[in-house]
Symmetry: C2
Subunit: 153 residues, 2 copies
């Protein structure tokens, strides 16, 4: 799935990640090229799936989502039916921002954003009533030190 990109492609991606509101002209100026080549490369990278989505990032706190938890999950169930139900439960819940299946001792990690501790408990109770999990540890974030969607190029 890896794609070959040259220096100019990379520079364009940096610009798009840093400020997705720039005009083609601005991007072209910032990467030392001109409009059409930049446009063609963006189109190609979109088609190749390198560029997945254009979006606006919102401020969670300004929206009243003041609590963020990392949830470590161990399960005793590992069959396909259970996995499917668990996956569905996660995808159905918009407060789950990330979910990864892990190697090793802990089976899953989730990142969950909610209004407060009470809202987390509601989420947690609903989740464990829907799918059986063996052991759950919630880590409460006190402070978001860094948060970026920018991938290193």
């Amino acid at each position: 799935m890896a794609v070959r990109l040259d220096e100019l492609d990379r520079k364009i991606l940096v610009q798009l990640q840093e400020d997705g509101g720039q005009s083609l002209d601005d991007i072209a100026k910032n990467v030392g090229s001109s409009k059409t080549p930049v446009w063609n490369r963006i189109r190609k990278m979109r088609e190749a799936g390198v560029i997945k989505q254009q979006t606006y990032l919102l401020d969670a706190e300004a929206l009243g989502l003041e609590a963020c938890f990392f949830v470590l999950i161990r399960t005793s169930e590992h069959d396909a039916t259970w996995q499917k139900a668990f996956l569905k439960a996660l995808n159905d819940r918009p407060e789950v921002q990330e979910a990864h299946r892990l190697a090793g001792d802990i089976d899953y990690i989730l990142k969950v954003r909610v209004a407060n501790a009470r809202a987390y408990d509601v989420f947690y109770q609903a989740l464990i009533s829907e799918v059986k999990v063996h052991n759950v540890t919630a880590l409460l974030s006190m402070e978001e030190i860094k948060s970026t969607t920018m991938l290193p190029l």
Copy 2:
């Protein structure tokens, strides 16, 4: 810092999060309003800091970043000087996508994206040589089950 938003504001934010490339006309149509009110509300939410940034999301795997680790850190140092050095180290490293200071037993959690296990080790060695940490556990992601920047509205 919380802001009061009405139903229409929320609908607009949903549209912006889902597809940041839509024209004002399209957004207006999708939320059942017209251009001017939508535009004014977007401007206000930008000024209020509810809308932080416009960006493009890239595909980590397509860029060759095939490994993702969650790193749990315990430290014995808690003074301001250490914290500042640690914070700087994290901000200087683009492979660190997220960093949170936690309540409880574990002090910090990081999300780190790198090309492979070897690149993680390079990152890890560089980090611990720069700041003293007491105990580090790395959780390796086998599969990204869910990943979204969309906040629930």
